[in-house]
Assembly symmetry: C2
Amino acid sequence: MAAPLEKTKVGIVGMGTVGSGVAKLLLDYGDRTARHAGRTLWLESVVVRDFEKPRGVELPKGVLTDDLTKITKNPEIVAVAHLVGGLEPARTILLDLLESGKDVITANKALLAEHGPELFDRARALGRSIAFEASVAGGIPIIANISQCLSANQIESLLGILNGTSNFILTQMEERDADYDEAVREAQRLGYAEADPTFDVDGRDAAQKLAILAHLAFGARVHWSQIPRQGIDTLDVIDLRYAKQLGYRIKLLASAQLVEDALELHVSPTLVKIGTPLAEVRGAYNAIAVVGDAVGRLFFHGLGAGQMPTASAVVADMIDTVVGRTGITFRTLELWSNREARVTQRDYDNVLGRYYMRFRVDDHPGVLAEVAGALGRASVSIASVLQQETDQLRPGENHVGPQSAGESIVDLVIMTHKASEGAARRAMEDISKLPSVRPGSVRLRIRG
Amino acid sequence: MAAPLEKTKVGIVGMGTVGSGVAKLLLDYGDRTARHAGRTLWLESVVVRDFEKPRGVELPKGVLTDDLTKITKNPEIVAVAHLVGGLEPARTILLDLLESGKDVITANKALLAEHGPELFDRARALGRSIAFEASVAGGIPIIANISQCLSANQIESLLGILNGTSNFILTQMEERDADYDEAVREAQRLGYAEADPTFDVDGRDAAQKLAILAHLAFGARVHWSQIPRQGIDTLDVIDLRYAKQLGYRIKLLASAQLVEDALELHVSPTLVKIGTPLAEVRGAYNAIAVVGDAVGRLFFHGLGAGQMPTASAVVADMIDTVVGRTGITFRTLELWSNREARVTQRDYDNVLGRYYMRFRVDDHPGVLAEVAGALGRASVSIASVLQQETDQLRPGENHVGPQSAGESIVDLVIMTHKASEGAARRAMEDISKLPSVRPGSVRLRIRG
């Protein structure tokens, strides 16, 4: 018979959805963690703000507390899952944990994206570590894959569907031909969107995750707010319909690409060819396509959120932390150290791409020539044009007002060849001033 | 300015395709390995059998040798990439490296599948480690993902396209409507198949990889030869055509599935629904779908072979080894230790599945009833039937011989509901004895 396993004491701060999942894995499935860690991870303390709130998991007597010092003043607790959302008091709690000698595992991507340099520098100075697999893409182990498994590569590009809420809404819009508001309500009803989904749908959440990945993969030191972003909150279902006609789906892509030693970063609703892996990512799933110069193209697909996928990442990090792997990674990678950035961000105006443009134009001869002329003057060349009676794809729309009096309005959809962001933006501005062009022009990126 | 980095000396044994790739990464891209390892990996010695053979990479003077003791007797070399194929002298060389105190990184899956327990036990006894990410699925970091990133999960199933040669041949057969021999010749011409592709196409290579993954994911101790397997070498292009008509592609799947605490293992050409991720894996790519009880379904896709993808995995392992992560993993995981197996293999006869069956039958009334009757007696129930004039899908075939004299022969394709392997096999045996059924019946698995 084997000798009894050594116990390593751990703690949890924050007992929301993910915290409950972590407690469940530690308490109900201790054999697994023991098998992979070579010791028992003993859940000693769980700190919550509101002691009285009902929890989804039953904790042993004496474990639950609302007093953080039960962890910080207990030298036997070596690693703590920090599952507190928002910036404060999350930041202060994380610093307190580090100061008291704990290694920390966190799922708080907003905190890392905002205060990463401070937190990582402090951990390093104290000889502690911060693990954060759960902060990006939930159950997909993208942090470990980029920072360890692909360490022999120069990463060349990284393209991800990193916000499950947005992807769920887009999938709803496409599959049920629902407009944005209707799809958001359905996502809220099913628990895939919060009551206020702003941070998910405006691209902020994806930009914060992209900032973390770009730091790991490229040594970029770009604050998330410096990443140009567009969310899905302004999308019209009609553009999903046109995209489909043209053989595309619209996905919210977070993109980091190394082009001639500069890093192009942006978060954009993007037309992705149907049949390619990223286009087939449905519902609340996340996915990431990484290209490394040695390994070629790797594709990861999995659940980007949810209680147990995220808890899976937290507990794996906890095991890595107590066995010592995280400490090694943390020291050798010099995460967020004040070393120089290895790469600079390209001015967004100079980023090249192909574009889908839709204009609402008066249906009279010569309007295409006017629009095409404006594009030509901005050096944006046209790959294809689709002009369609508006009614065909807007079945529910009532044509009242000026446009029904005489002339009708049609949608003019143009797919461009490669052009710079700046040129495309200027072309759009010029076109919007044309007398035949009505307000409400749309410009989206096309992948590839 | 930073202090000069510490040097850690490493070696390579074997300078074939992968060895040259590893040398290239170490010599030409030392900054990367230094950045991830916090030290320079210094390539001190490369041991080859034939000193005179031309190499694809230029080595510094004095590095190349045909004397293994240049590594084993040099105490400064701490980690060695073992890139020697076959079983002997590969086994002896690996043991020599361990005995001389080196940590080993190997890509030799056949060696691990055959002698894993001996090699791993010896490494453990000597306090050394063996890393083997490159042995399965080339550039896809599936070993690290299963043994570290998913450590909080009970893996429930693992389904992989693990042999790139077979997948390339199947893709050729499907896309060019080519028969097996023609597709093999094309694969050989393009370098995706060896002159003798037996081990790739008969399912052996996939079974060896599956044995390694099943050990890691389930604690199974199953020798690869105990895994039921069928290769692609007996496939007829006509079955790919029928599969396509029915909405499926045929893929060589390596499958491990935990069902009621027993492990079902097999390697089988399998009909996979078009549009699902595994069906869309083309050419020489590999892919693995893993289901964990916490994380849900994860999908990995990437290049399963080739010089640089495999070298990428070897060098990542080398970095993990010299920084100490591999040693920790190796000790805590107790790989291939003589602890009891955690799971037993289910008798293949009791493994349930759906089946595609094709029979060549005389086209006379009553034959379907005879076949259906035999299936019914074996308790195999029919989901759908496709009966077609043979000529329609066999355009090039000449109808001479007995069947052209009077009665014609038709293909009868049956898709079954779930049945046990044993029942399906017995049904096939019975059916083949029916007077209206000609030789050459085919049975393939259907996924799901």
